[in-house]
């Protein structure tokens, strides 16, 4: 089963295409890194996959053929947006209450136990937590929904190195439990350790997609970062000039 499938997917803002002719088949059970420079269309693709925006062209389905954004899809897809938006004036306990109320499944004991381990007090307002704690809270809420697909948009961009490490460890643990993960970053080094599937985007188009090991072998590169850099230099000489 493919966890995400797109066919001729495109998104236009005004006259500019943020994403075009995107055809992908991401298998289930993988940790997929969506990589590309700023403005490559990463957030656009993620927003389409979670149903926050509507395609201008083509189709995108998730969880094996469900239309992105439909209630059947929303049920099994958890999304942590860039900068992990939370209701800053609500407490951690309120955020748990909200997420529990808005979803069919919510593993309350998992959420409480994880927040305890992380040392995040449930009575504190979300806005008073550190950046790393806010990211961990958003991730915990997403995982407590027991999603089949976890989508993360630039999850570690705002975090310090320790928080980054902790965050990625949580993602890795979820992946080990069978959650498919799709995460974007403009810094591939973050994802090198966890990702086993790679999608390279630049200027709104897919440049490279496939199993990380296969891609490395085919292009005779030692690391995904090296591969991505080489590929981006080829396709976008003006950027790295």
């Amino acid at each position: 089963m493919n966890i995400i499938e797109t066919t001729g997917l495109g998104k236009r803002y005004g006259r500019a295409w943020a994403l075009r002719d995107c055809t992908l088949e991401i298998p289930a059970g993988r940790v997929t890194a969506l990589v590309g420079p700023n403005g490559a269309g990463k957030s656009t693709l993620l927003n389409l996959a979670v149903g926050l925006s509507m395609p201008s062209a083509g189709v995108v389905t998730v969880l094996g053929g469900r239309q992105a954004g439909s209630s059947a899809a929303l049920d099994g897809v958890a999304f942590v947006a860039q900068d992990t938006p939370l209701y800053k004036n609500l407490t951690v306990a309120d955020m748990i209450f909200l997420t529990r109320g808005l979803n069919r499944r919510f593993d309350h004991s998992y959420a409480r136990a994880r927040l305890d381990e992380l040392g995040i007090p449930v009575k504190r307002r979300a806005g008073k937590l550190s950046g790393g704690q806010q990211a961990q809270l958003a991730l915990t809420l997403a995982l407590a929904r027991r999603p089949r697909l976890l989508v993360l948009d630039e999850p570690v961009a705002m975090l310090d190195p320790v928080a980054r490490h902790d965050f990625m460890a949580t993602v890795q643990a979820a992946a080990a439990d069978g959650v498919s993960v799709l995460l974007s970053s403009h810094v591939l080094a973050e994802l090198e350790r966890v990702a086993d599937y790679l999608i390279l985007l630049s200027r709104g188009q897919v440049r490279l997609a496939g199993d990380a090991g296969d891609l490395l072998a085919a292009h005779r590169r030692a690391s995904l970062e090296e591969l991505a850099m080489a590929y981006l230099r080829e396709t976008q000489p003006e950027v790295t000039r």
Partner: protein, 346 residues
Amino acid sequence: MTARTMSARPGEDDSRPLPWRRMAGVTWRQHRIMLAGVVVLLGAVAVWLWTAGMPLHQAYAAAVACHPASSTACQNLAGTFSQLATSDFMGNHGPGGILVQLVPVLIGAFAGAPVLARELETGTFRYAWTQGFGRWRWALAKLVLLAIVLAAATAATGVVVSWYFQPESGTLYQTSPLVTLFGLREVTFPGWTLAAFAIGALAGMLIRRVVPAIVATLAAYAGLAFAAAGFLREHYLTPVATTGYVNPGTSTAWVISQWSTKDGTFAFSGNPPGSLVNRFCSSLSPDKTGPQGFAPCLAQHGYTQWISYQPASRFWAFQWIEGGWLLALAALLIAATIWLVHRRAA
């Protein structure tokens, strides 16, 4: 940390939509401070009306109970009441009356505009709209729940407004219940509040920022309220036309227009023109020169005075007409807002 190794295994599927009642608790958690603010505001208005209304009610009761009505003591009591009623702080044009008329738009703008604008401004819509409940259902449940609570609270306050107003359309001092504080009664108070709330929600969805959305709501509401009070309300039902004249403060009728006819054809509207007065009624003493003073004089020369008015008995009809179109407007705007939530590209 063992937390990282805790299981996060995916769950099973179920395609039924989540029950609507889930949104009750969610909406309460998110908006309880706002709702508490509304209750405090309406409570303050009710207490204020109560303290201002008690002396008015007492003076009215004393004056009405007095016998015989023509005695000096009774006349004094009636005078006391009239004075209270005319110097009324809470009437349409008293400072209190003007302040109270801001209540619906304050509630609407400050409760309605942020509902979606804050989500869009802070980015939390990316959280709210990707939960299992679904985004248009989330918007529908939240807006309808808040609307019901606001409608119930303002309708209750409308009962207090009507209690307060009772003596003023009684037998002693008479003003039309169709004019004074008409927009704050049992049906119209929730009607105007819901209209403001819906304007605010739509403005928030379109503008996506809290403060500009509140400003836009205030402006749109002001235009609507002005149009309704100045132009629409008098046309809800065809006015009754009759010959005669009504003195302000002596009738519960809402006079829409006055005119005169001669020999069955229209002569002039409103007050008689100066030329006519000079010709027929120049001998009248100055203290009798009001439209009423001229009337008998002009009547001798074949002029008939007419008025058209809305009788006070139409109060409930007018309440439901105004409440009805406001509710329809609010429903339409909320439907448009939900459609935008459903369609909006993030």
